[in-house]
Amino acid sequence: MRDLIIVGGGPAGLAAAYGAYEKGVKDILILEREDTLGGILNQCIHNGFGLHRFKEELSGPEYAQRYIDMLKDTTVDILSGTTVLELREDRTVCALNSRQGYFELQAKTVILAMGCRERTRGAISIPGSRPAGVFTAGAAQKYLNMEGYLCGKRVVVLGSGDIGLIMARRMTLEGAKVLACVEVMPYSGGLTRNIVQCLEDFGIPLYLSHTVTDVRGDRRLTGVTVSKVDENRNPIPGTEMDFDCDTLLLSVGLIPENELTRGAGIEIDPRTNGPLVYDNMETTLEGVFACGNVVHVHDLVDYVSEEAARAGASAANRILGKIPEHRAVHIKTDGAVSYTVPQYIRENAEEKTVSLSFRVRKILDDVKIQVSDGQRTVFTAKRTHMAPGEMEKIQLPREAIGDARDLTVSVEK
């Protein structure tokens, strides 16, 4: 029986391991599918990681290296090239690698840190033929940044998620011509910073409220048609624009990778596609915790590390016998707030505040975030600007919760 097994060696898994180690747990094992640690950070060679965590602006691999170095002098064991196939309710982890074959390990606690997967063309429906030249932005990023292979010369990007924006700049710098970025929503799905420095810096037009309505090409893509959409996201006839391109990049969102979570019977929040969690990042299966993109999509790795450190510390508490109270306060949402993580808060004397993350459904200016217990407002915070592409965080003081049964988070003018 191991004390702690962590599934996934991306930034979440690494920070969770360090968090648990710092709290005094020595017997920790990380299982990682790839041959190297760092997860998605290995292909994110751009800068912009770590300004909060390290007060420095690092590239993705540099950020990962910091954590890999922090783990060097610890007793944390790492098994890379190892895929976890199944998690059972008794916290048995079933895994496979080429050296040991199939094996099973039971643990007192498990932390899930499997990250996200990209939505593909199948997950959204694009009409037209099925030629080569249609890639997810993340696949194109991996080819270019890790293999050195540029997947096209004339590019249209569908979706304004961060990966697509980052790839528009990256491919431009490598000599490709990025003709347009097309977004079906009336606002961008990515960070404003990326709109400015990936599109505006290079004069790449962003078409909001537009989508791809036709894909042409026999063997290789030869062009796409882009149309304006109405408020119900239906294409408006007569607004078609044709682009001659050999590549279409899809940057249409990420989905938390939760097959293992579902298999273990853990409850999933349909709004985040990730497990429901308590404030200590424990899922509905006792002793199993989750953190990072597997819980909800983060835009900043710094916040992934913070959340993961909390999961690590909480697993340590459980191993050391410090078990949280059972009474839980349910966090509800109202109006423009689309979800919160955690969804439940339990009584726990150790931390004075609860860190609450959430997203809004639309762009909002000069608003107040409000938390109410049904009778009164227990917490407020002002924001000058909120956008769906940017995760929000508040620190809710525990004393504000009092003996409330549930709390509602909303955003008011």
């Binding site: 800068n47 909060h52 890790m146 050195g148 710098l173 910073r193």
Partner: protein
């Protein structure tokens, strides 16, 4: 008054800058002031790309400029770096090119390979 979004870090603060006095407001940290002032005079960005590496587990090694460089130099730097290659082992922070194209910034390795 000119409005802009600070792109120094992913927080993306909305800055206001007075074109005459160069006084900045709306920033959450001092980098915002420097950014807004540069943006009016000579906009600067960190350049990131890859360089071939031999003998490593990957064929490409990620690199970046050690400091932001003039925006005009971005594409030139990426093209200039096509002349360089590395041999494993390389370490984070190792200099690939000093003062690239006279920008004042070095190009450094960002992954141990």
């Amino acid at each position: 008054m000119k409005e802009m979004i600070c792109v120094t870090c992913p927080k993306g603060c909305r800055l206001k800058i007075d074109e005459q006095t160069l006084k900045v407001s709306g920033n959450s940290c001092p980098r915002g002031t420097v950014y807004a002032q540069n943006e009016l005079t000579d906009p600067k960005r960190v350049v990131t790309t890859t360089v071939p590496v031999s003998g490593a587990i990957l064929p490409r090694c990620p690199v970046r400029t050690s400091a932001p460089v003039s925006k005009k130099l971005m594409i030139k730097i990426v093209q200039e770096l096509k002349k360089y290659s590395l041999t494993s082992p390389v370490k984070v922070g190792q200099v690939v090119v000093e003062n690239i194209l006279g920008s004042g910034a070095d190009v450094i390795v960002t992954r141990n390979l």
